[in-house]
């Protein structure tokens, strides 16, 4: 038993954080540059557990928590999961559909430049084609309109169900998606905590840093507690999945539930710590909050799983 990252895992973690700081700053989440996806692919994060790279979920979760800290594209979660479970089919970026049942339209997140869309269902994953534009019988070309979401870094589109591939009789694929979205939420909670603590050290009122005041200090401490609990459970869940443990579904769900709450509560607290500037569009404090709201809908933890 060892729930601390080993040297190799720390190296992955550090390299990810370093790259993100230089190339994918959180503040830039509202408008990511065109070429970002190609760079992300080149970094290897789209297929860490896919055949060929075969890293474990523990390492992947550590890296995705770092990526989540910088509000990395939502499509990266779907792509990483698809390349593990549909290795021969999924080539290129994969978008993520929120779980809906037929005949409701698919709500697809991060469709820009994606060739397919991944959706989780109880007991399996589906992979749909995602034509960005298509030609109908009369020869008219339709482009799928992309609409904004609350998370400024993520666009969405609506699609009808098409034929799809799915994973069968294997509990692991949907857990993989839930684990990586939990990792994103852990990173998001960390980002809000650090932003708040940084500001509380710098901003002065009444001739002292506002972090001197316990009312603020304790808000920040609670952010640290939530983030630590969620991160620890994420590590445990990743290991449980790696081991194919009988209670892996529970542990991954617990990680997602705590990470979602940490992301949302920390996101909200961060605005309060910033005061007026926290409410502005210009400042970045709203970015983790809005990402947190989006993450609540990605592979949410089912109460039945938590009580099973």
């Amino acid at each position: 038993m060892d729930l601390t990252p080993n040297d190799e895992q720390i190296a992955f973690q550090t390299a990810t954080a370093d790259w993100c700081r230089d190339n994918m700053a959180l503040e830039g989440a509202r408008a990511r540059p065109e070429g970002l996806w190609a760079e992300i692919e080149a970094m290897g994060w789209t297929g860490m557990t896919a055949p060929g790279m075969d890293l474990d979920h523990a390492t992947e979760a550590l890296v995705f928590a770092e990526l989540g800290r910088f509000l990395a594209p939502i499509g990266l979660i779907a792509t990483a999961v698809a390349s593990r479970w549909f290795p021969d089919v999924a080539e290129g970026k994969v978008a993520l559909a929120l779980t809906v049942s037929e005949p409701e339209d698919l709500r697809v997140l991060d469709p820009a430049g994606s060739c397919a869309v991944l959706m989780s269902e109880p007991g399996g994953l589906r992979l749909f084609d995602l034509p960005d534009s298509f030609t109908d019988q009369s020869g008219m070309v339709h482009a799928t309109p992309h609409a904004p979401t609350i998370d400024l870094s993520t666009l969405q589109s609506r699609h009808e169900w098409t034929s799809s591939l799915w994973t069968e009789d294997d509990p692991a694929p949907p857990l993989h998606l839930q684990l990586l979205s939990a990792a994103y939420a852990v990173g998001c909670a960390d980002a809000a905590r650090d932003m708040a603590a940084d500001y509380a050290r710098l901003r002065e009122q009444f001739d002292r840093p506002i972090g001197w005041f316990q009312a603020l200090k304790h808000i920040c401490s609670d952010m640290a507690v939530r983030a630590a609990a969620a991160r620890s459970q994420l590590y445990y869940a990743a290991c449980a999945l790696d081991e194919n443990a009988a209670d892996a579904a529970f542990h991954v769900a617990a990680a997602k539930r705590l990470a979602d709450q940490a992301a949302l509560d920390n996101g909200r607290a961060n605005i309060q710590v910033h005061g007026g500037i926290g409410m502005t569009d210009e400042a970045a404090a709203h970015l983790p909050l809005k990402r947190a709201h989006l993450l609540q809908f990605i592979a949410p933890a089912a109460r039945e799983t938590l009580l099973a």
């Binding site: 729930l3 509380a200 972090g211 401490s221 620890s232 290991c239 617990a254 539930r257």
Partner: protein
């Protein structure tokens, strides 16, 4: 990272389980204070004789010299077997002994550690005073040096198990006129020494488990100072780090038992059909899982680096508040049976009432939040 245990560790777990299965006393820990202490001492002796006391204490002083991971495995099996609460041995085993291992002289260790492990000596903690609670550096109890003795005057309060203790971790001012953290010493105080008066205090639950202690020209040999005269603050901080850190692993492990019992109870009485209750139970179960993950992470940190990470205070705060949420839920699931509570009952309501201590004793939740904000997040010190 992995959550698997080695074959040796798994074998060790089997041994723990088998022994506990055959030896855990069937009855409950007695309610009457005197009987409870006899029970605590006898049980500790039994653990010692069978080799289960001081699993990760050095072998030179009667311990087993095993790893902290094995200590955790033991505690997990201990909770699963519904073995008795450590009771009056809490201070000696969880922080008195560990403080001595780290700071005491050879003579002090050789004399005291085996007695703690065998349940022969009950320890208590004399830190808090009427005027020095959260602000521990406000200690006024003083010791005047006379020859090779300290002559002690003053008083302590909230001293758990003082009325049955043989020894005390006493922190007092040994330098006249010294201020705050300076001039304090950590002393092994003989609770049977002349001049000591213990006045038990009743809790709102009805038990008298703590007391006020008065010192009237109490003479303690200078040889009982631990870690050197004037170094009391540093030694006391190591005591608190054990008390707030590894001392609570047993509680953390017990929570995983408690949540399962609560879910079973809610299923049995049908209250789980209430969506809000089901959701709270689901939430508590996730949080209890996180406590185990945090504990494992902290233990791994100890194994890797030799000391717990700065997040020990985070675990302490999270666990203490979670414990209170669990107790609150247990009371909720009782319905109006809470009305039947009688002073001194040792039941769900008794646990609930005593559970308020979790965010007060050993540093209040507010003080823990200060520590987290200042040490973990680097915010400026408010005090």
């Amino acid at each position: 990272m992995d959550i698997g245990f080695s074959p040796e560790e798994m074998h060790f777990r089997e041994e723990c389980r088998d022994w506990l299965h055959a030896n855990v006393p069937a009855g409950k820990r007695p309610l009457d204070a005197a009987d409870a202490i006899t029970f605590d001492k006898a049980w500790q002796r039994r653990l010692f004789d069978a080799g289960w006391a001081g699993i990760n204490w050095p072998t030179d002083y009667g311990g087993r010299g095993l790893s902290i991971v094995q200590q955790v495995i033991w505690l997990e099996e201990y909770a699963a077997a519904h073995a008795p609460w450590i009771g009056a041995n809490f201070v000696g085993i969880n922080h008195g002994g560990p403080t001595l291992i780290l700071n005491a002289s050879e003579e002090q260790k050789a004399y005291h550690l085996p007695r703690i492990l065998k349940g022969e000596a009950i320890w208590c903690q004399g830190f808090s005073e009427p005027g020095a609670g959260s602000d521990l550096a406000g200690i006024k109890t003083r010791g005047r040096i006379e020859g090779d003795e300290l002559v002690i005057n003053g008083s302590k309060i909230w001293t758990s198990f003082a009325h049955v203790a043989d020894w005390q971790e006493l922190v007092l001012r040994t330098e006249e006129g010294s201020l705050r953290h300076k001039g304090l010493s950590w002393v092994i105080c003989d609770m049977h020494a002349p001049g000591i008066t213990v006045r038990p205090i009743r809790k709102m639950s009805g038990q008298t488990e703590f007391a006020e202690v008065f010192y009237d020209d109490v003479r303690i040999p200078l040889a009982n100072v631990v870690g050197g005269l004037g170094n009391g603050w540093k030694v006391a901080m190591s005591t608190l780090s054990f008390e707030r850190g590894t001392g609570f692993i047993a509680d953390q492990v017990k929570q995983s038992q408690e949540i399962e019992e609560l879910i079973a109870a809610a299923r049995a009485n049908g209250m789980i059909k209430d969506d809000r209750i089901a959701d709270q139970l689901a939430q508590l179960r996730a949080e209890v899982a996180a406590v185990r993950a945090m504990t494992y992470r902290n233990i791994s940190e100890v194994v890797r680096t030799g000391q717990p990470g700065p997040e020990a205070s985070v675990i302490r705060l999270f666990t203490s508040e979670l414990g209170q949420r669990l107790e609150r839920m247990a009371v909720l699931l009782m319905g109006d049976a809470i009305i039947d509570f009688a002073y001194g009952d040792d039941n769900v309501v008794g646990d609930y009432l005593r559970g308020f201590a979790a965010t007060i004793a050993g540093g209040t939740a507010q003080i823990q939040r200060d520590i987290i904000g200042e040490r973990l997040l680097g915010l400026p010190k408010s005090r």
